[in-house]
Amino acid sequence: MSSREAILARVRRALADVPRDDDFPVARDYARAHVAEGVLELFVEHLRDYRAVVHEVAEDALPDAVAAAVGRRGARTVVTPAGLPAAWTAGLAEGVCLADGWEYGQLYEDSINNRPELVEAAGILTTHALDTADGVLTAAAVGIAETGTIVLDAGPGQGRRALTLVPDWHLCVMRAADVVASVPRALERLDPGRPLTWISGPSATSDIELNRVEGVHGPRTLEVLIVR
């Protein structure tokens, strides 16, 4: 008997007391959300609570806001994923943007790390190239107010997961309309088939005396531009 069959048989034996058509009830009487109003304000408050830098900007001021943020940071190279609206980077000097060609749903012959020629052909940045970039600019899929969380789902303008992981500065544009109140509301909007990254503040650790300290392996600065 394979281990698969052995384990399944052991599970069934262990559950001898449980009827085969068991339908154990789950009461879903918890809240779908804990706030009805002031969702955006709460989102901002909670982002700041975990030391994200937050700016609220109007849609037409976004290119200037991006340029100003890049200027403040002193970033000379900024990674930009495929599908990022061109207007967002219109205020940046030439050569600042390092475009990554990866798009969700496209077929790739091999891993991006392993075959430099394929990587290059697809316009995909190597991990080491990402490591030398000063930052990354992305869109986001969903924001969660109650937890101060930004969710990336590899959609247009967000790119593959490594882009927002390796550079030390993440500048993220979040549309106000995509901010929901709660975790349950966020999950409703997200597709589990896509690789998701939930980000709540900069990389941190609680491993030293159980106190939160910012800055370990992920981006040590998270800056969010909220577009009303």
């Binding site: 394979s2 281990s3 698969r4 384990i7 052991r10 599970v11 034996r13 262990a14 559950l15 068991d22 154990f24 009830p25 789950v26 009461a27 009487d29 918890y30 809240a31 804990h34 975990y50 990866w102 969700y104 891993s111 790390n113 995909i124 490591d131 937890t147 101060g148 969380t149 590899a154 593959r160 997961r161 992981l165 349950p184 999950l187 589990p192 088939g193 896509r194 690789p195 998701l196 990254t197 939930w198 709540s200 900069p202 990389s203 941190a204 650790t205 609680s206 491993d207 030293i208 005396e209 159980l210 106190n211 939160r212 300290v213 910012e214 800055g215 370990v216 392996h217 992920g218 981006p219």
Partner: protein, 509 residues
């Protein structure tokens, strides 16, 4: 190379606890850390008005899953496979280690990076890989501290909780140069500086890693999605940059639906690090072309879990989401730390999970394992905070019964029988009270023999001249009152009262 440290051969809990309790530095570190996290947890849990409902739902979802676990496992396997992953089944630690080692060898690599995972510690994966010539690098900060310090983990969330910042600095300065980037000169014990040192130490290893090993917090049966909840980004590094990812997951980690995560992603971060949300949560389903590993292997592990499942009282331990809230709030853990429990799962959850995984129900376990269900004052703080409402005290008492039935504690059994003989019958109780009262001037306030365990540190209470019932019978009730309902039939033993009792009863009249 010195052999790796191991929990094997640890003395029983009371003995291991004795040296921990008398270590002031350890006591200080633990007290500081656990009290910090308790306050943080209480604060963020207090923010959610529906915590009780979320907790009940969390428990119910887990129970629902466990009660049809075979079906959910098969569903999860199908979904992971459909998404391009490969599923393996491991009945025990040896099989899981074998599977992982073979997978690593097939890649031609001799190094793997690891995300902190309880289950790979449980099966001793690093040691098993080392025996095959494969070196595993722990990347979680606390795991790194433990690995560099040639130490053992003492907490399920913060394995180096027993170390303070000064000790961590010392370990970094001493050990980091052995591989990777050494600690910078002039490293201080500021937590931010220590985190920075870890970042630099591991960076190149992450960027060039080809194989990673992880666990998972959840496995969604309907979609085949895995979830890893973390803080530092080392998890993301391991899950995203290498070409091959191997995730070892206990069979109890499965949850039925994607929507079920709405409960656990609220319960877990608030219970574990006391945050509204941990910095990073990654979810992935099979492989995504061009994004992340191109080979994904899921190893489903039993290793005693089906034995736990077979125990109708004990199976609730499989609901555990490893948040560590029960450790952080436990007054025993606070004073002994994790090593005293002699297992990678310390604290209250360890005290109920480890004996079950080691087969206490079947009767024979070693004295160390048998001591674990007694490593609790049954104060109930763990149950109060557990986000999936595991009644840890109930399971502890249940496991104590199994230890007793397994034949341990001969002297104690005799004492308990003697106590039953007295306590099953009011007359005998009164007799014993009188013997004690009469000889009370002779009783020392320090007890000899086993009683010394009490009286070495605590005065014994003085035995009063008269018991309450003696007082009542003399002062308040003549003639002696009849109970309003019939007493049960006295057990057979009472037919033969000892001579002592007759004598005293007569004296009394």
């Amino acid at each position: 190379m010195t052999p790796p440290p191991t929990f094997l051969g640890m003395p029983p809990f009371p003995e291991a606890a004795r040296s921990a309790v008398s270590n002031p530095q350890l006591r200080h570190n633990l007290r500081k850390a656990t009290h910090t996290i308790r306050d943080k947890r209480a604060h963020v849990v207090g923010e959610l008005s529906d915590w009780a409902e979320l907790r009940a739902a969390g428990a119910a979802i887990k129970d629902r899953t466990l009660r049809r676990l075979d079906e959910y496992l098969v569903a999860a396997e199908a979904a992971v496979t459909a998404a391009g992953g490969t599923v393996h089944w491991a009945a025990d630690a040896a099989e899981a280690n074998r599977i992982v080692a073979d997978l690593v060898r097939a890649t031609g690599e001799t190094e793997v990076v690891k995300v902190k995972s309880m289950v790979t510690q449980e099966i001793g994966l690093n040691e098993a890989l080392a025996a095959e010539g494969i070196r595993a690098y722990e990347t979680d900060l606390a795991e790194l501290i433990v690995q560099l310090g040639d130490d053992l983990p003492s907490h399920i969330l913060v394995p180096a909780i027993h170390r303070n910042r000064a000790e961590i600095r010392e370990i970094f300065v001493r050990e980091m140069a052995e591989w990777g980037v050494p600690a910078p000169p002039g490293l201080t014990d500021e937590p931010a500086a220590l985190a920075e040192a870890a970042r630099r130490h591991l960076r190149e290893r992450f960027l060039s890693a080809k194989v990673a090993v992880s666990g998972a917090n959840f496995l969604v049966a309907e979609t085949g999605t895995l979830v890893v909840v973390e803080s530092e980004g080392n998890g993301r590094m391991c899950l995203t940059l290498p070409e091959t990812l191997i995730s070892v997951v206990g069979i109890e980690k499965v949850v039925p639906t994607w929507a079920d995560l709405e409960v656990f992603l609220q319960l877990l971060p608030r219970s574990s690090t006391g945050e509204r949300m941990n910095p990073y949560t990654s979810t992935w389903t099979g492989v995504t072309p061009g994004d992340g590993p191109r080979d994904f292997h899921l190893v489903l592990l039993d290793n005693g879990r089906t034995d736990v499942l077979a125990d109708t009282t004990g199976r609730q331990a499989l609901r555990c989401i490893r948040c560590s809230a029960c450790l952080n709030v436990c007054p025993v853990y606070e004073r002994t730390g994790g090593h005293a429990y002699g297992s990678v799962y310390p604290g209250p959850i360890g005290a109920i999970l480890v004996p079950q995984l080691r087969g206490v129900a079947s009767g024979k376990v070693d004295p160390q394992t048998a001591s674990l269900p007694y490593a609790s004052s049954l104060c109930g703080a763990c149950y109060e905070v557990c986000p999936v409402a595991i009644d840890i005290p109930e399971v502890l008492v249940h496991l104590r019964e199994q230890v007793v039935e397994g034949g341990g504690h001969r002297a104690e059994r005799a004492a308990m029988r003697a106590a039953e003989w007295v306590l099953d019958d009011a007359k005998r109780l009164r007799t014993v009270q009188r013997v004690a009262a009469r000889s009370r001037r002779l009783l020392p306030r320090r007890a000899p023999g086993p009683g010394a365990a009490w009286s070495d540190s605590r005065a014994l209470p003085e035995v009063p001249a008269r018991s309450f019932r003696d007082w009542w019978v003399r002062e308040r009730s003549a003639p002696p009152p009849q109970p309003p309902a019939a007493s049960p039939q006295p057990p057979a033993a009472s037919a033969q009262p000892p001579a002592e009792q007759n004598r005293i009863e007569e004296d009394d009249r």
